[in-house]
């Protein structure tokens, strides 16, 4: 039935070619790397930064101010400026990863600070009284309690990274976004529709994965 609609027939036709299928799968892999690597880097940078902001008074306004200014810089602009700063080639995936890692960090700093603020003081005091040293207390007590607040920020960052990677196609490195430029250049909508649907599905799958991780990481809440 669906194959009778010209659009779906086109999509079927496009996907019936093995080389096209391989291309879509390859681009999907590239897309996942370009979106997930910055998410992990950003999280790894934002947690210690947020922790420092919570402990040292002057760091907090400086950090939150910097991250909100960073927000206003368009991602495409950042992709373009990166090679000038890093000395990479324009068509290097590293540009996208570093640019998106900066965004993810900027996006996550506030949730990290808010999440750590929300850890009840008496729990920190109890952990201290039980002999936890600051580093171990942070990793074993404060961070797990902060997970549920932090998870909301990570989900937003994940969705926005997946969507932003495709913008890189504008300058030739964009994972599934390359299907958009291909479809536009050949005046053929099928690859564009496949690209949009795959990106939405990827965003949804990542979101479900993160919800699952959050659930698994906060078992103590339901104990």
């Amino acid at each position: 039935m669906l194959a009778d609609v010209p659009m779906f027939a086109d999509i079927g036709g496009y996907l019936s070619s093995p080389s096209n299928r391989d291309k879509v799968v390859g681009l999907l892999g590239e897309h996942i790397v370009l979106a997930v690597a910055p998410l992990l880097i950003g999280l790894a940078v934002a947690v210690p930064l947020g922790c420092a902001a919570q402990r040292v008074r002057w760091i907090r306004p400086a950090l939150l101010g910097t991250s909100s200014v960073l927000y206003t810089v368009p991602s495409l602009a950042l992709f373009v400026i990166m090679p000038g700063i890093l000395g990479t080639r324009i068509l290097d995936g590293v540009n996208v990863v570093v640019a998106l890692a900066l965004y993810t960090t900027a996006l996550l700093v506030r949730p990290v600070v808010d999440a750590l603020d929300a850890v009840p003081g008496h729990l920190v005091a109890a952990a201290t009284a039980m002999g936890y040293r600051p580093v171990r207390r942070f990793v074993a007590v404060e961070l797990p309690i902060a997970i549920s607040v932090l998870a909301a920020g990570v989900r937003v960052a994940s969705a926005s990274n997946i969507s932003l990677v495709s913008v890189g196609a504008f300058i030739g490195i964009g994972g599934l976004g390359q299907l958009f430029t291909e479809g536009f250049q050949t005046r053929y909508p099928a690859p564009i529709v496949i690209g949009i649907v795959t990106i939405l599905a990827l965003a949804l799958a990542m979101d479900l994965l993160l919800v699952g991780l959050r659930w698994a990481g906060t078992r103590w809440e339901r104990a």
């Binding site: 000038g84 937003v156 913008v167 536009f184 949009i196 939405l200």
Partner: protein, 241 residues
């Protein structure tokens, strides 16, 4: 050395005159942003206010707005262009789809953030439903509504660069033309990127200033009383594309 080349690009009077000059590109960019944000506000503000006011359909609305955020604008734009064959229509529609979710979320969350006691008091004073919306909920919603509008403007300023991809003007032209002219075009690309970022920052500051003027002092005082914390909008995606 790349930065001295960019400075040289900005210093070249040729880049500032004619139909491809910086002032014209900035004006085109601002024009697309203005049209898009006005249309998006006309759709999203009434919808957000009504849903917040009646309290019905809030969950559906928030879910819909969130899933729209993952929709890649470049994909939507190229698809619409191939279907409707109009540069202007496809660009504006794609950008409106981008701008609606933050405004919708801001206006809905704004009305929702008005305390229950205040709404009950308005009802108790005999206000009609419309009076309550107009005189109580709307003023109370303004801080978050404005936040949503700001985040929409930021995203649209950043993303309007894609208009150049279907052949329109704006600052995206500098990026795309620079890219097409090989390594020698890199300073022009960086100049376009810096101008877009500069425009985003200037517009954001202007809107922040306007927000201060528009939000009633009573609401501001009330926010200051709670430390402004409970009403701060959650994390929103970066200024985008």
């Amino acid at each position: 050395m790349i930065f001295s080349q960019v400075l040289a690009w900005f210093g070249d009077p040729q880049n500032w005159s004619g139909p491809g000059g910086v002032p014209v590109r900035v004006a085109e960019h601002l024009y697309y942003v203005l049209v898009t944000v006005l249309i998006a506000a006309a759709i999203a503000i009434p919808l957000g206010l009504v849903v917040g006011h009646t309290g019905r359909g809030g969950l559906v609305l928030v879910g819909l707005a969130n899933s729209m955020r993952a929709l890649p604008t470049l994909g939507l734009l190229t698809f619409l262009f191939l279907v409707v064959r109009s540069q202007g229509v496809s660009t504006v529609v794609a950008l409106v789809v981008l701008a609606v979710p933050p405004v919708l979320a801001g206006s809905y969350a704004g009305v929702h953030s008005v305390e229950r006691d205040i709404v009950d008091a308005a009802d108790g004073m005999g206000m009609t439903s419309l009076q309550r919306l107009w005189q109580v909920e709307l003023p109370g919603a303004l801080p978050l509504l404005f936040g949503g509008l700001r985040s929409a403007v930021l995203q649209v300023v950043a993303t309007t660069t894609v208009a150049a991809y279907v052949g329109l003007g704006g600052l995206g032209r500098l990026l795309l033309d620079g890219l097409r002219s090989g390594p020698g075009g890199y300073p022009q690309m960086v100049a376009g990127a810096l101008l877009t970022a500069g425009l985003a920052i200037v517009l954001d500051l202007l809107l922040a200033g306007t927000g201060r003027l528009v939000v009633p002092s009573g609401v501001r005082l009330a926010l200051a009383g709670t430390g402004g914390k409970s009403r701060r909008p959650g994390p929103s995606p970066p200024s985008g594309e």
